[in-house]
Symmetry: C2
Subunit: 149 residues, 2 copies
Protein backbone atom coordinates (compact mmCIF):
# COMPACT_ATOMS: atom_id res chain seq x y z
CA UNK A 1 0.00 0.00 0.00
CA UNK A 2 1.54 3.31 -1.04
CA UNK A 3 1.99 5.62 1.90
CA UNK A 4 0.04 3.29 4.17
CA UNK A 5 -0.06 4.70 7.70
CA UNK A 6 0.56 1.19 9.09
CA UNK A 7 3.98 1.04 7.51
CA UNK A 8 6.70 3.31 8.84
CA UNK A 9 9.19 3.23 6.00
CA UNK A 10 10.94 6.07 4.18
CA UNK A 11 10.36 4.43 0.82
CA UNK A 12 6.61 3.98 1.29
CA UNK A 13 6.11 7.68 0.63
CA UNK A 14 6.02 7.70 -3.17
CA UNK A 15 6.24 11.49 -3.35
CA UNK A 16 9.73 11.84 -1.90
CA UNK A 17 12.96 12.37 -3.78
CA UNK A 18 13.85 13.62 -7.23
CA UNK A 19 11.28 11.56 -9.11
CA UNK A 20 12.01 11.00 -12.79
CA UNK A 21 9.07 8.80 -13.58
CA UNK A 22 6.33 7.28 -11.50
CA UNK A 23 4.12 4.40 -12.56
CA UNK A 24 1.44 2.54 -10.66
CA UNK A 25 3.77 -0.11 -9.25
CA UNK A 26 7.21 1.49 -9.42
CA UNK A 27 9.07 4.77 -9.62
CA UNK A 28 12.53 5.97 -10.59
CA UNK A 29 14.42 8.67 -8.71
CA UNK A 30 17.71 10.40 -9.41
CA UNK A 31 19.96 10.32 -6.36
CA UNK A 32 21.82 13.43 -5.31
CA UNK A 33 25.26 12.04 -4.57
CA UNK A 34 28.15 14.44 -5.09
CA UNK A 35 30.50 11.65 -6.14
CA UNK A 36 28.09 9.77 -8.40
CA UNK A 37 26.18 11.97 -10.82
CA UNK A 38 23.71 9.78 -12.69
CA UNK A 39 23.07 7.48 -9.70
CA UNK A 40 19.42 6.34 -9.94
CA UNK A 41 17.11 4.18 -7.85
CA UNK A 42 14.24 2.04 -9.03
CA UNK A 43 11.78 1.70 -6.16
CA UNK A 44 8.90 -0.75 -5.94
CA UNK A 45 5.92 1.19 -4.58
CA UNK A 46 4.52 -1.55 -2.37
CA UNK A 47 6.32 -2.34 0.89
CA UNK A 48 7.91 -5.68 -0.04
CA UNK A 49 11.13 -6.88 1.57
CA UNK A 50 12.79 -9.30 -0.85
CA UNK A 51 12.78 -9.82 -4.60
CA UNK A 52 11.56 -13.39 -4.01
CA UNK A 53 8.52 -11.98 -2.18
CA UNK A 54 7.31 -10.49 -5.48
CA UNK A 55 5.26 -12.46 -8.00
CA UNK A 56 7.13 -13.68 -11.08
CA UNK A 57 5.38 -11.03 -13.14
CA UNK A 58 6.22 -8.15 -10.80
CA UNK A 59 9.82 -9.34 -10.38
CA UNK A 60 10.18 -9.36 -14.12
CA UNK A 61 8.58 -5.91 -14.37
CA UNK A 62 10.95 -4.21 -11.91
CA UNK A 63 13.97 -5.80 -13.58
CA UNK A 64 12.81 -4.49 -16.97
CA UNK A 65 12.91 -1.01 -15.43
CA UNK A 66 16.37 -1.63 -13.98
CA UNK A 67 17.67 -2.61 -17.44
CA UNK A 68 16.03 0.46 -19.04
CA UNK A 69 17.67 2.74 -16.48
CA UNK A 70 21.04 1.00 -16.82
CA UNK A 71 20.91 1.45 -20.61
CA UNK A 72 20.02 5.15 -20.42
CA UNK A 73 22.79 5.81 -17.88
CA UNK A 74 25.28 4.03 -20.17
CA UNK A 75 24.05 5.98 -23.18
CA UNK A 76 24.22 9.39 -21.54
CA UNK A 77 26.75 9.42 -18.70
CA UNK A 78 29.82 7.87 -20.31
CA UNK A 79 30.32 5.63 -17.30
CA UNK A 80 33.08 3.05 -17.20
CA UNK A 81 30.98 0.41 -15.41
CA UNK A 82 27.49 0.00 -13.99
CA UNK A 83 26.96 -1.29 -10.45
CA UNK A 84 23.60 -2.80 -9.52
CA UNK A 85 22.55 -3.55 -5.97
CA UNK A 86 19.45 -4.45 -3.99
CA UNK A 87 20.44 -4.33 -0.32
CA UNK A 88 17.70 -2.98 1.94
CA UNK A 89 19.28 -3.78 5.30
CA UNK A 90 18.23 -0.45 6.77
CA UNK A 91 15.10 -0.06 4.66
CA UNK A 92 13.67 -3.51 3.86
CA UNK A 93 11.58 -2.23 0.96
CA UNK A 94 12.60 -3.44 -2.51
CA UNK A 95 14.71 -0.83 -4.30
CA UNK A 96 17.54 -1.08 -6.78
CA UNK A 97 20.62 1.12 -6.90
CA UNK A 98 21.88 1.73 -10.45
CA UNK A 99 25.26 3.39 -10.04
CA UNK A 100 27.46 4.70 -12.84
CA UNK A 101 31.10 4.14 -11.97
CA UNK A 102 33.90 6.32 -13.33
CA UNK A 103 37.58 5.36 -13.32
CA UNK A 104 38.30 8.59 -11.45
CA UNK A 105 35.49 8.27 -8.91
CA UNK A 106 36.66 8.29 -5.28
CA UNK A 107 36.11 4.57 -4.66
CA UNK A 108 36.99 3.02 -8.00
CA UNK A 109 37.54 0.07 -8.41
CA UNK A 110 36.12 -0.68 -4.95
CA UNK A 111 32.38 -0.67 -4.15
CA UNK A 112 30.97 2.77 -3.37
CA UNK A 113 30.33 1.63 0.22
CA UNK A 114 34.01 0.97 0.89
CA UNK A 115 36.11 3.56 2.77
CA UNK A 116 36.61 6.77 0.80
CA UNK A 117 40.08 7.19 -0.69
CA UNK A 118 39.83 10.75 -1.92
CA UNK A 119 37.59 13.43 -0.48
CA UNK A 120 36.74 15.19 -3.72
CA UNK A 121 36.54 14.13 -7.33
CA UNK A 122 35.86 16.43 -10.26
CA UNK A 123 32.38 15.70 -11.57
CA UNK A 124 31.78 19.08 -13.22
CA UNK A 125 31.49 17.64 -16.71
CA UNK A 126 29.22 14.82 -15.54
CA UNK A 127 26.87 17.23 -13.79
CA UNK A 128 26.25 18.95 -17.13
CA UNK A 129 24.82 15.68 -18.46
CA UNK A 130 22.12 15.32 -15.80
CA UNK A 131 19.34 17.30 -17.56
CA UNK A 132 19.83 15.12 -20.64
CA UNK A 133 19.82 11.97 -18.48
CA UNK A 134 16.59 13.05 -16.83
CA UNK A 135 14.89 13.80 -20.14
CA UNK A 136 16.00 10.52 -21.67
CA UNK A 137 14.85 8.53 -18.62
CA UNK A 138 11.46 10.28 -18.65
CA UNK A 139 10.99 9.59 -22.35
CA UNK A 140 12.03 5.96 -22.39
CA UNK A 141 10.29 5.01 -19.13
CA UNK A 142 7.10 6.70 -20.29
CA UNK A 143 7.28 4.76 -23.56
CA UNK A 144 7.87 1.51 -21.67
CA UNK A 145 5.04 2.22 -19.25
CA UNK A 146 2.57 3.03 -22.02
CA UNK A 147 3.45 -0.12 -23.94
CA UNK A 148 3.03 -2.31 -20.82
CA UNK A 149 -0.19 -0.94 -19.35
Amino acid sequence: MIGSPEVKCGLCDATKGNIVFSSQKWRVVMVEDKHYPGFCRVIWNEHISEMTDLSDQDRNLIMQIVWKVEQVIRDIMGSHKINLASLGNMVPHVHWHIIPRYTDDPHFPNPIWSPLDIEESDVTEKLKLLPRLKLELETRLCNFDQSHS
Copy 2:
Protein backbone atom coordinates in the same frame (compact mmCIF):
# COMPACT_ATOMS: atom_id res chain seq x y z
CA MET B 1 34.19 -18.18 -24.76
CA ILE B 2 34.82 -20.26 -21.69
CA GLY B 3 38.47 -20.31 -20.75
CA SER B 4 39.41 -18.52 -23.96
CA PRO B 5 43.16 -17.82 -24.00
CA GLU B 6 42.49 -14.36 -25.47
CA VAL B 7 40.65 -13.24 -22.34
CA LYS B 8 42.64 -12.82 -19.13
CA CYS B 9 39.90 -12.84 -16.53
CA GLY B 10 39.62 -14.81 -13.31
CA LEU B 11 35.98 -15.62 -13.97
CA CYS B 12 36.54 -16.99 -17.48
CA ASP B 13 37.95 -20.18 -15.96
CA ALA B 14 34.73 -22.08 -15.31
CA THR B 15 36.50 -24.73 -13.23
CA LYS B 16 37.54 -22.44 -10.35
CA GLY B 17 35.86 -22.09 -6.98
CA ASN B 18 33.49 -24.23 -4.98
CA ILE B 19 31.09 -25.01 -7.81
CA VAL B 20 27.60 -26.04 -6.76
CA PHE B 21 26.10 -26.40 -10.19
CA SER B 22 27.38 -25.71 -13.66
CA SER B 23 25.25 -25.34 -16.77
CA GLN B 24 26.19 -24.49 -20.31
CA LYS B 25 25.78 -20.73 -19.88
CA TRP B 26 26.09 -20.16 -16.13
CA ARG B 27 27.41 -21.62 -12.92
CA VAL B 28 26.82 -21.17 -9.21
CA VAL B 29 29.62 -21.17 -6.63
CA MET B 30 29.56 -21.03 -2.86
CA VAL B 31 31.88 -18.30 -1.57
CA GLU B 32 34.18 -19.04 1.35
CA ASP B 33 33.72 -15.92 3.47
CA LYS B 34 34.21 -16.36 7.20
CA HIS B 35 31.63 -13.72 8.03
CA TYR B 36 28.99 -14.74 5.48
CA PRO B 37 28.26 -18.47 5.40
CA GLY B 38 25.82 -19.12 2.57
CA PHE B 39 27.24 -16.36 0.34
CA CYS B 40 26.85 -17.56 -3.29
CA ARG B 41 27.76 -16.21 -6.70
CA VAL B 42 25.95 -16.74 -9.96
CA ILE B 43 28.48 -16.37 -12.77
CA TRP B 44 27.71 -16.02 -16.47
CA ASN B 45 30.20 -18.26 -18.30
CA GLU B 46 30.80 -15.96 -21.27
CA HIS B 47 32.98 -12.88 -20.74
CA ILE B 48 30.29 -10.17 -20.84
CA SER B 49 30.72 -6.88 -18.99
CA GLU B 50 27.23 -5.51 -18.30
CA MET B 51 23.77 -6.97 -17.85
CA THR B 52 22.57 -4.81 -20.76
CA ASP B 53 25.17 -6.47 -23.00
CA LEU B 54 23.28 -9.76 -22.67
CA SER B 55 20.33 -10.67 -24.89
CA ASP B 56 16.87 -10.36 -23.32
CA GLN B 57 16.67 -14.13 -23.12
CA ASP B 58 20.06 -14.57 -21.44
CA ARG B 59 19.43 -11.69 -19.04
CA ASN B 60 16.18 -13.32 -18.02
CA LEU B 61 17.92 -16.68 -17.65
CA ILE B 62 20.63 -15.46 -15.29
CA MET B 63 18.07 -13.61 -13.16
CA GLN B 64 15.99 -16.78 -12.87
CA ILE B 65 19.07 -18.44 -11.37
CA VAL B 66 19.61 -15.50 -9.01
CA TRP B 67 16.04 -15.84 -7.72
CA LYS B 68 16.43 -19.61 -7.31
CA VAL B 69 19.60 -19.14 -5.30
CA GLU B 70 18.06 -16.33 -3.21
CA GLN B 71 15.09 -18.57 -2.38
CA VAL B 72 17.25 -21.54 -1.37
CA ILE B 73 19.45 -19.34 0.85
CA ARG B 74 16.33 -17.92 2.52
CA ASP B 75 14.89 -21.42 3.00
CA ILE B 76 18.03 -22.92 4.50
CA MET B 77 20.18 -20.26 6.14
CA GLY B 78 17.70 -18.37 8.30
CA SER B 79 19.04 -15.05 7.05
CA HIS B 80 17.51 -11.76 8.10
CA LYS B 81 17.90 -10.11 4.67
CA ILE B 82 19.27 -10.93 1.25
CA ASN B 83 21.68 -8.56 -0.50
CA LEU B 84 22.06 -8.77 -4.28
CA ALA B 85 24.80 -7.04 -6.22
CA SER B 86 26.35 -7.02 -9.67
CA LEU B 87 29.43 -4.80 -9.48
CA GLY B 88 32.36 -6.06 -11.57
CA ASN B 89 34.62 -3.03 -11.25
CA MET B 90 37.70 -5.18 -10.80
CA VAL B 91 36.42 -8.12 -12.86
CA PRO B 92 34.12 -6.81 -15.63
CA HIS B 93 32.54 -10.21 -16.23
CA VAL B 94 28.86 -10.54 -15.29
CA HIS B 95 28.45 -12.18 -11.88
CA TRP B 96 25.91 -11.75 -9.12
CA HIS B 97 26.61 -11.78 -5.41
CA ILE B 98 23.78 -13.29 -3.36
CA ILE B 99 24.63 -12.52 0.25
CA PRO B 100 22.68 -13.68 3.31
CA ARG B 101 22.74 -11.00 5.98
CA TYR B 102 22.40 -11.72 9.67
CA THR B 103 21.53 -9.15 12.32
CA ASP B 104 24.71 -10.13 14.16
CA ASP B 105 27.01 -10.12 11.15
CA PRO B 106 29.97 -7.75 11.45
CA HIS B 107 28.65 -5.11 9.01
CA PHE B 108 24.92 -5.20 9.64
CA PRO B 109 23.00 -3.05 8.74
CA ASN B 110 25.69 -1.58 6.51
CA PRO B 111 26.77 -3.11 3.19
CA ILE B 112 29.37 -5.87 3.53
CA TRP B 113 31.90 -3.63 1.75
CA SER B 114 31.75 -0.94 4.43
CA PRO B 115 34.47 -0.75 7.12
CA LEU B 116 34.39 -3.71 9.48
CA ASP B 117 32.97 -2.94 12.92
CA ILE B 118 33.80 -6.17 14.70
CA GLU B 119 36.63 -8.52 13.83
CA GLU B 120 34.85 -11.78 14.59
CA SER B 121 31.26 -12.92 14.58
CA ASP B 122 30.02 -16.34 15.69
CA VAL B 123 28.90 -18.25 12.63
CA THR B 124 29.30 -21.75 14.09
CA GLU B 125 25.61 -22.60 13.80
CA LYS B 126 25.39 -21.20 10.28
CA LEU B 127 28.39 -23.26 9.13
CA LYS B 128 26.52 -26.43 10.08
CA LEU B 129 23.82 -25.52 7.51
CA LEU B 130 26.19 -25.35 4.54
CA PRO B 131 26.03 -29.03 3.48
CA ARG B 132 22.23 -28.77 3.41
CA LEU B 133 22.44 -25.50 1.45
CA LYS B 134 24.74 -27.12 -1.10
CA LEU B 135 22.49 -30.15 -1.54
CA GLU B 136 19.38 -28.01 -1.92
CA LEU B 137 21.07 -25.72 -4.44
CA GLU B 138 22.30 -28.69 -6.47
CA THR B 139 18.85 -30.27 -6.51
CA ARG B 140 16.84 -27.18 -7.39
CA LEU B 141 19.31 -25.83 -9.94
CA CYS B 142 19.53 -29.23 -11.62
CA ASN B 143 15.72 -29.37 -11.80
CA PHE B 144 15.62 -25.86 -13.26
CA ASP B 145 18.32 -26.63 -15.77
CA GLN B 146 16.63 -29.81 -16.96
CA SER B 147 13.29 -28.08 -17.37
CA HIS B 148 14.86 -25.24 -19.39
CA SER B 149 17.16 -27.12 -21.75
